[in-house]
Every structure is written in C-alpha cells, then in structure tokens.
Amino acid sequence: MLANRKLVLAHFWLAFAVFGVALTLGAWQMFIRSPLGTWLSNPELYYRSLTAHGTVMGYVFPTLVAMGFGYAISESALEQRLVGVRWAWAGFWLIVGGSIMAMIPVALGRASVLYTFYPPLIGSPFYYVGVVLVVVGSWIWVALMSINLRVWKGANPGKPVPLAMFANVAGSYLWAWTAVGAALELLLQIIPVAVGLKATIDAGLARVFFSWTLHAIVYFWLVPTYIAYYAIVPRAIGGRVYSDTMARIAFILFLVVAMPIGMHHTFGDPQVGAGFKFVHSAFTALVALPTLLTVFTICASVEIAARLRGGHGLFGWMRALPWDNPMMLALAFSFVMLGFGGAGGLINMSYQLDSSIHNTQWITGHFHLIFGGAIVIMYFAIAYDLWPHLTGREFVDLRLIRTQLWLWFIGMIITTFPWHWVGILGMPRRMAYFDFADPAIAPQALSVTFSAIGGFTLLTSGILFLVILARGMRSPAVEAGAYRFSLAVHQPATVPLALNTHALWVALMIGLTITNYGYPILTLALTEGTSVPAVYVGAQ
C-alpha cells in the first residue's frame, strides 16, 4: 500500500512538467535548424535552448522519475512505510531549488555551455552550483533507498529482497557512484574557475572526469525501464517472470560494468592513450550482456502470458498477446527502439567504427532513440500503471493512452532514423543552423525536414500524455488495491547471499572504476602545462 502518495505524485508531476518544457524547446530546435525554419538572427538563442533541453532531460527529468518510482517501489515491494519521509521532501526541494538556480542563468544566456559543460568554456557559477544541488538532492534518495532496505532486512532476516527493490537499490548505487565523476569535475575544476579563484583549467582531464558520469548515467536512466520490464510488464499482461535469478544477474551486471566504460566517449580525444581506449571499448561490449539476457527473459515471460491466454505455435502465440493493453504496447515499442538503438550503440562503442560517426548527428539520433524512445516510453507506462494507485482514480480512455504511445513511437522513428542518416553523411551535431544552399549540404535537407516533423509528432504525444495524466486526476474514483509486482515462474524461497546483497558488487564497481580510470586520471592530473585559460561565456 502506498502511504506517501503525495511524495511520489510530486516527483512525477515535477518530472513530467519539466519534461514538457524541455520537449517544447527540443521541437523548436528541430524546427529552427531545419530547412523549414529561417536562420536565427542570434544563434546564441539556439545554444541557450539546447543547454536548457539537455540539462533538464539529462539531469532533472530522469532523476525525478527514478526517485518517485523508487519511493513507490520501496513502499509497495517491501510493504513498509517509507522511512525518512522528511528527508525525501528535503531532497525534492533541493532539486526544485537547484533547477531554478541553474535555469535562471541559462535563460539569461549566461551559461550556454550545454549540459556536457566542456571547459575551458565557463558559464555562470550559479548554473553549476544548481546542477550540484540537483545531484545532492538525488543522493538523499540514494541514502533513503539504502536505509529502507536495511530496515526491511532487519525485520525480515534471510528473506529474498523483492526483485523490484533489489534492482531499485542497485540503480541508486550506480547513480551515486557515476555522479562522482561530474561532481569531481565541477567541484575541483569548473566551479573554482567560474567563481574566479582560478583562471586556468585542464580541458582534457575534465573530459575524462565527465566521461565517468556520461556513460553510466545512461544506465541510471535505464534502470526504471528495466524494472518495469521485469517487475510490472509480466504482471500487467497476465504472465510471469521467466527467471528471478537471471533478472538479478542482469541488474548486478549493470551495476558492475556500466561504470568502467565511459572512455568510449573519448576515442577521438588526444589526451587518452590507445590502451585505455581499447580496454573501455571491450568493457562496453560487456555491457551488452545484461541487455541480451533481459531481451531473452522478457520475451520468454511475455510468451508465458501469451500461452496462458491460449496462444500456440512457434511464433503464433504473439497474436494471443493483449495488444490493447497499454503496457503490452509500450513494451513492444520499447523493444523495437531498444533493438535499433542498441545496434547503433555497438557501432558507437567500436574501437574502429566510432570515427565514422563520432560527434555527428548519428550520436544525437542514437541517444534520442535509446533514451527518448526505449526508456521514456516505459516512463510513460510506469506513470500510467501507478497513477490509479497514486490518485485513487482510474483511466477511462485507454484508446487515448494507446494513441499517445503510438504517436510517441512513430514520432521517435521519424525523428531519429533520418537523424542517423545525416550523421553518416557527416553532419556535425549542435549547430544552430546549416547552409542548405551549399550543394554539399543540400542532400541532407530532406532528412532534416523529416526529423523536424518527427519532433512535432513527439511534442503532440507529450502534450497528450500530460493531458491524460491531468484528466486522470479528475476521473471516477476507484479502489486500486495494493500495488503489486510480477511473480516469477519459480518464485524463490531463498536467494544466494550474492544475489540478495549489493556490497560485493558495489566493491567490484568501485574497484573496476579505479583500475580503468585511476591511471589515466592520475597521469593527466600530474602532467604539467596542460591547464589552459578559461573562456567565459556570456561575458562579451
């Protein structure tokens, strides 16, 4: 039973409200740099918008979803009132305060450095401090997840930790540790320069610190989606989880190998040597493993649901699936986008192939497909699934929900497929506009136009999503009952200690980070003469 419904609702509403704002900015950006728009007289407006879009979509929106969902999981999976509710609210308000503090200088054009920071570009210190406050707020959540699990373990010695909570806590630890990279970059390097204590900065070292955060943060965004795959979808469509053990192994693998791989973002960089580039490339291949395992387990779980509903045949069972169930639809869309996005990801992490598409529009296409597509569509599904339990009211119009999901899927495909294509043609990312009159760029015009149309399809779907949630607050009351998670085919009576605790895996995560990052960071930090003068943004 969810006792702190207001807390979860506050996180979700704030998450989706800022998502709506950032989505609108995104659609505007797609338009303005397409042949449909006219060139901005002031291109700085584009980068202002892009900084806001990236900061909100990367740091604020998914963090709030993970937190709200995490609190809901803690209360419902453990069947225990949340411990530390006041702290949870403090974390929430820190995020509100941090977001406002960061967004004011961005809106004023004082921090158009994009969400990746990349010094020696330096913006207003309030922007960076605001981002730090958002992260600190989320760390309160990490601590609360850990404490709540500990309290439950004390009351239930030896019992298997429910899968949803096990995964939720793994995701929170992953976030706590991956945020350290950007935190070090901000606290040791950027903020001292932004407030004027120092005038120079090592741009190469900063990029390595940021890569520490930049890749594993993606898996932090992904964890709520994977929890939905395992712990919600089978229940919602009337099936069972094929294997509880494999699910735990998948989340453990994410925790351990998502971290020490971030340097595949720096293949094109001059400050990292070949050895560590190869090591990080090989480890990135390893992170495909938990996804491959998940695809198997979820397909098998879905098949169970289909066969229970009378489906038969080698592939014929797919017809028996409850396709009118929004959760089924969202899962199918998510998997299609995960498949394409994952295949693209294997190209990005490849030691050799990356140089064909590095920093082109292919990359933007890739992470919009994975994050905006495969991940966010499951955030929608999570909200739809939880909403009646949070509001005590039911959705009456399932057709509208299905329309929203279809629009998001179609919009994302129309947006990202041409985006990948122009990337292969060599179109660089993050430009305010392009000269489509240039014969060398003209062939990309049609693809960029399609992307912009896709962007507006996504905006339509996003608005529809907010309307559905708002209407859901006023629809007929319903007794939604306790919020439950999927059961496994063979529900475990006991679980080996290694699959029931996180300590060993957290130690391994930290150890691998040190072996894969320690030497490069140390050598860069000790190399003299690589600090360069800061270039202040917005000072002109």
Partner: protein, 188 residues
C-alpha cells in the same frame, strides 16, 4: 511449458535454455572484442594512440604550430604532413591542400576551447583539445573538395566554423611543393 508446471523438470529445462542463450551472448561479445583487437593490431586501425601536450598560450610564438609552419608540407620520404589549429570560429588554414593517393599525417590542436575536425564523406574525425596535440593518419583516393566542419560545440559561433579540404593530383601537389614551403588552398 506453462506457469503451472512448477515441477523440478520444468525448472531444469528453463535453466538449460537460459544457459544456452547466455553462452551465445558471451560468444558474441568476445568475438566482437577479438575482431576489434585483430583490426587494431594487424591493420593498425585504431583511434589516436599517443598523448602529446602543447601549451596553447604559446602556440603563436614558437614550436610546430607557429603560423608560418601551418599548412601542408611534402616530407623527404614522399609522405605529407598537415599542421592546423582550430580557434573560435575558424580553422587555420581554413582550406587544407593535400595530394591524392599519399599517406598524410594530420597534426592539429586548439588555440582556445575544445573543437573537433570532421572531414565529410570520410572516417577522419578527431577532437581538438587545448593543451594536447591530435594526430590522424589519412589517405584520400579521389581528388575533389570535402567539407570540414567543427564537430564540437565551441560557443556561439560554432555553426559558422566550417573548413575545407581540397585533394589534388599527386604530381600537381609535388609541383606546388617545390616552389613554396607550406601549402594551403586559402583564398583559392
């Protein structure tokens, strides 16, 4: 198989199927890493291997990136070295002149913020990070003009930072190289 089948046998079959899939997944991943390693070692296709530093505040005063040393030079062994710098919001030289069918080494760095060099229609792609020297080996088979945009956000003029690469006939390049020291196609 169904959810009611909770017997020992069902669990065993499930485990075996699962193990087979996991093995296959591991094989795929190991194969990918091995292919990358072979391509890297045997064919020397890999990202930049060595870390070299340079002081960006003294680039214009001394060393290999002084203005008079930027551009293309024909080395005694027949190979070509191209030196360039990126700064907000242009490349120097803005047009690189290189011969076709010749091994070329591009050496470049940034004079201010992070930039990137991307030559469209090729896989030549590197970051320019101030304080460090980027090196890329390249070879063009066909003559012609290629666009060379900056591929990393470098502040408000980023969208205007486009350079060019002009690939000319090998003999013609050798001819030009005789008369002057550092070649480029700026202003042509």
């Amino acid at each position: 198989m169904s959810a009611q089948d909770t017997g020992h046998q069902g669990a065993e079959i499930a485990r075996r199927t699962e193990r087979r899939w996991a093995t296959l997944s591991v094989i795929i991943i190991v194969a990918m890493a091995v292919i990358a390693a072979i391509a890297g070692i045997h064919r020397a296709t890999m990202p930049q291997a060595r870390v070299e530093t340079t002081d960006p505040s003294r680039l214009h005063l001394s060393g290999e990136f002084v203005e008079s040393n930027l551009g293309s030079v024909l080395e005694s062994n027949g190979a070509v070295t191209v030196r360039a710098i990126g700064q907000q919001y242009s490349f120097t030289p803005a047009c690189l002149l290189v011969p076709a069918e010749t091994p070329i080494t591009l050496r470049a760095t940034s004079a201010d913020v992070v930039h990137g060099i991307l030559i469209q229609g090729t896989n030549i792609n590197t970051m320019l990070v101030p304080g460090y020297v980027s090196e890329q080996l390249m070879r063009f088979e066909r003559t012609g003009d290629y666009l060379m945009p900056c591929q990393e956000f470098c502040s408000f003029g980023h969208e205007g930072m486009w350079g060019k690469v002009r690939v000319i006939d090998k003999a013609k390049f050798a001819e030009l190289a005789k008369s002057s020291g550092r070649l480029s196609c700026v202003g042509q």
